[in-house]
Chain length 651, copies 2
């Protein structure tokens, strides 16, 4: 069995501690044996493999097992008539296939796996006693076997496995394909990593492609002398960049919905979130609601109350976060920027920066935790909605952390040359460093774990060091690799949070200070071309295969990008004022200034606050969604049969 | 038969010229006799009535006839599972009933009537010769009888009839119910006038209700002396008014979707337009598309090309309208405002105003016609979309016409007191005048027509003048009443255009000059309270029953209102500058001013231009909508049967 880890098809691995062979008896009470038998009974193909650091149970599933699981899960799948209906294995012809011809997407497959594995429960009428080595535990009735084994510490991990053939294929035509700067095999990425990661790379690719235009403009401004028109070039560049951003995001929305159509995800962008989140909140309440169905008015009142309470709660949480940022982080950032400006020796500056970095790191981590706690008392509907709420809150922290220093140099001290230096430094040094850290830390972790495991093995078996190189099979290597997690904690977000954050901070930097340093777009373009490959390599080589997520848009990040565009309009205007008024002669009356500030606040209210009050009352939405749900549940079977026959006719 | 026009149930009238009794022979060739027979064959209940001005054929329909017509029309109706399916008379239990318990809404009923009446075609294999008096005409095969009769001038008009019982009921508890200031029986209005008019009144009522808040604030500012805080009151009022408007429109959207839910119109606000318009454009192309279905790529390319061509065309048309306004109307308006300012004698001013009013009336009419022509070359999807396009274009004209004079006084000449005078004059005098004209012109027209008809009748029969008072039956009176048409032409819009225009101009006036004259909100409130009753009276008493329209939102007007809010932020800031800087001491550098202008233009681009590029590519939407349509067509029957049974179970 050793070395046989290269088969395709095994998609999930369960890790249990290794025992020495002599202790492994074939008595019926051994829980690992029991688990394997139960897995096989559930229709899964199981392969056990004793590796160096632990024992692995690799699990594959025939299509039919997955199909039955999907039907049990009441999974909704797109049919050929464009409606999502409950999956039914007997009417399989009615369901739209993936672009690569398979029935289930990776995300659906993983959900089925999880359902199958965690769905093994004790269906007998008695409690069973299972043992592992010398440990014994009671396996109670209707208890999930894997859940119990995780609870008592026997199952260490359950993680998705890479598919070696497709991984190598992607490595060749994506991560190591340096010839096409921004082209990526998005469909293959989708079918290997799922919607959310594919959407990230599609966005990154399109963003980089679009970046070429302002990069060329910026480069032209640096090289060409426009003579008497020089004064007009900068405002023209500013207008160009803002229009570019506006159109980019509009075209991104189009691209996103085109991608969703291609992948058979049948939601219009605007409807997507609404139905999806409502559905999940509805399923939790179905029992209660059935009783209440007779009394529509009571339900309506309840839903309305819930809606406003929820809004109030969210408003309060956001207020807390904003206050914390303004009262705690802002003074700290300004103090650092000021101290940095007035210290004279380089040594002190480095010392200061070190202290600052340490403190800010600590602060950010606390901020992330506080945000996660705050979000738990919000009544977010669905996981993706909670994740979006977290993204907004944490981005506030990073926004202040990243830009306050820049604003300090640019606006308070009118120090454009320092601003340019800091921008170059941030964009090149910090992003290169970040990429290095991003990729090297997982590798170092992995190497360390590997070294430890080898060391252990050598101790055990007394093998010669030369042989240890060939010791590791694929599944063992993957076990040692770190998983794709966010730096702020892995409860609500995965590693995409960090990748999007990097992108958003870069976008903010290049947009908000575009007029101060137009060449910055070139650096960003170069940076992003390497970023695509670096992220691809990270996902394919450095890390475990990430757990797929269902979200089909870039979600909260789109709003953040849009917000940055509005910010960019204001900051660039200020920058232009400082650039054209180098002697500081332009005066403004305090009255006029306060009216201008009021105008900006009101425009913010106009365009921002309408987001706070949802356009559709909760009860209307609940009503509509329940109707759709009823349609699905009641008529699924009949509809499916007719679609299957239709499908055959069309063929 | 005379005097029998008071029955309910007769909902449509067909008007043919009156002939003297002796000429009316019972030969088979008489086309009116033929029409009546054909109408009866179609299952309609027909009543002929010889009135004073013409002969009327009143038509009623039993529910079953309407149901069969709806099924023939392939009308989509909401079912109890929340999906719209093709109507089927046999599965009537599956469809959601109206709030008043009837199966069809007034709009659906009228569509069925129209289908039934115009659906009478010559199904024989030969051409028939029909005659009317001495005129003969050929009734060709597969030709619509009513269409032909309209073409040769025999059928003068087909119009919907008032329902006397319900009209009187509405008159009592709505139009003449002065005790409830803003409460209206919206559901009854909906079932009597259809969605669009009910939505207008719901909006007007809510707007008036919300107006109380700024009206009270404005009144308080007038009455109370805030002492040292006086300087801060005006900005506070400004912020309050803008926030008020933002929240009002957000809550209006909520109310609108709640209304739609109550009336069984199953569309989310955002999806409504998309699906609906696409559906209509799709049905026109179905044949062509079926052929093309095999070749998805070709279709995609075609749809993309069409989409961009369409956008370009619309862009060009808007550019033409905007240029025409700036180059032709703007100088004219400014010239008038300037001349008005410099003329000294009152007589000359009146003369000037008369010339101006004459010219502007002419200009507006030409503008409306040009817009209608421009819209015809646009590829608007659906009638409501064309109407929206017209509304935007014509509102541009009215906007400049109504506000440029005000801006001239307020901003160019800093003449706040003249501005206040003009505002009072416009709001009170012109709106009162407009209401009077609005209501008296139809009445005068009606009286004149009535007088003429009476005169004619007296001539014919030689009756004594005392008797003529009781001569008219309801249907004759309605025939003499004018119909509910827009002042800019009745092709795309009905009278709601004028009502909404009045509302939008009023809203713009009170919002954009709020700081100059806070008391204006009180006048607007009073105005609107009378406006509700005046419009109700107009619809119930002065005019014929309007042809119902399907649109379920206030459509283009919402965007216009939102635009006015943004304008209000900018104009009020300027007003505040002028109010606080009465000596004109505040100076602004030209550089700073140009940067500020650039900022405002960019903010406009950010928030306005994203409307130009649709979020979803046309081919994605076509794909999605076609799928839904297929679902409806293919599975309608089966689904309906199961819903009917479900329904019975739930009951």
């Amino acid at each position: 069995m050793n070395g046989g880890g290269e088969e395709t098809g095994f998609e999930v691995a369960i890790v249990v501690p290794k025992r020495s062979e002599r202790e492994r008896d074939e008595s019926s009470g051994d829980c690992v044996e029991f688990l394997v038998r139960e897995l096989e009974k559930a229709g899964l193909i199981v392969e056990r493999f004793r590796g160096v650091p632990a024992e692995f149970i690799k699990v594959a599933a025939p299509l039919e097992t997955l199909g039955r699981a999907a039907a049990d899960l009441q999974m909704k799948k797109l049919t050929y008539i464009g409606m999502e209906l409950q999956f039914d294995w007997d009417q399989v012809a009615a369901f739209v296939r993936q672009p690569d011809g398979s029935l289930f997407s990776w995300c659906e497959r993983f959900n089925c796996f999880r359902y199958l594995i965690y769905g093994i429960v004790n269906r007998t009428n008695t409690e069973l006693t299972l043992k592992f080595d010398d440990k014994e535990f009671l396996y109670e009735r209707n208890e999930s076997l894997l859940g119990k084994m995780e609870a008592v510490g026997i199952v260490k991990q359950v993680f998705p496995l890479h598919d070696e053939v497709r991984r190598k294929q992607l490595l060749g035509n994506w991560a190591l394909n340096w010839l096409d700067f921004t082209w990526q095999p998005i469909d293959e990425i989708y079918s290997y990593f799922g919607t959310k990661i594919a959407t990230y790379f599609a966005f990154l690719g399109m963003y980089t492609r679009w970046l070429f235009f302002p990069a060329v403009f910026g480069l032209a401004m640096q090289i060409i002398d426009f003579g008497p028109l020089q004064l007009l070039v900068l405002p023209a560049f500013f207008v160009f960049v803002i229009s570019w951003a506006v159109f980019f995001f509009q075209f991104w929305k189009r691209k996103n919905s085109a991608l969703l159509a291609r992948w058979g995800i049948n939601y219009s962008l605007s409807e997507y979130k609404a139905i999806d989140t409502q559905m999940s909140s509805l399923t939790q309440k179905t029992d209660w609601e059935k009783k209440c169905d007779t009394n529509r008015l009571v339900e309506k009142t309840r839903l309305q109350r819930d809606e406003w309470l929820d809004l109030l709660l969210r408003f309060r949480n956001n207020a807390i976060v904003i206050l914390a940022i303004i009262c705690l982080q802002l003074p700290f950032e300004l103090a650092y920027a000021h101290l940095y400006e007035i210290t004279e020796t380089e040594v002190l500056r480095y010392l200061l920066t070190a202290v600052y970095l340490f403190a800010i790191n600590y602060y950010t981590r606390i901020g992330g935790k506080v945000s996660a706690i705050l979000i738990k008392c919000e009544n977010n509907q669905g996981e993706e909605s909670s994740a979006a709420s977290l993204v907004y809150k944490v981005f506030g922290l990073y926004f202040v952390q990243s830009y306050i220093g820049l604003f300090y140099h640019a606006l308070l001290h009118r120090n454009i040359s320092t601003l340019r230096q800091v921008l170059i430094q941030r964009l090149i040094v910090s992003q290169v460093l970040e990429n290095l850290i991003e990729n090297s830390i997982p590798y170092l972790k992995y190497s360390y774990k590997k070294y430890k495991a080898v060391h252990k093995k050598k101790h055990e078996k007394g093998l010669t060091p030369e042989k240890s190189v060939r010791l590791f099979t694929r599944v063992e290597k993957e076990f040692l690799k770190p998983s794709y997690t966010a730096s702020i904690g892995d409860e609500l977000e995965d590693g995409l949070f960090d990748d999007f954050l990097e992108l958003a901070l870069q976008f903010g930097m290049i947009m908000m200070f575009a007029c101060a340093f137009p060449l910055i777009f070139c650096f960003a373009t170069l940076n992003n071309i390497t970023e695509i490959r670096a992220d691809a390599l990270k996902l394919l080589v450095m890390l475990r295969r990430p757990v797929p997520r269902a979200a089909a848009t870039i979600g909260a990040w789109l709003n953040i990008f849009q917000f940055l565009v509005v910010m960019a309009i204001c900051t660039n205007c200020l920058l232009l004022v400082y650039l054209y008024d180098q002697e500081g002669k332009w005066k403004i009356e305090p009255g006029l200034a306060s009216i201008l500030i009021m105008e900006h606040v009101l425009l913010l209210i106009k365009f921002g606050f309408s987001h706070f009050v949802p356009e559709e009352p909760a009860w209307v939405r609940a009503h509509r969604v329940r109707n759709v749900a009823q349609a699905r549940d009641a008529c699924s079977k009949q509809l499916l049969r007719s679609i299957s026959t239709l499908d055959r006719k069309w063929d």
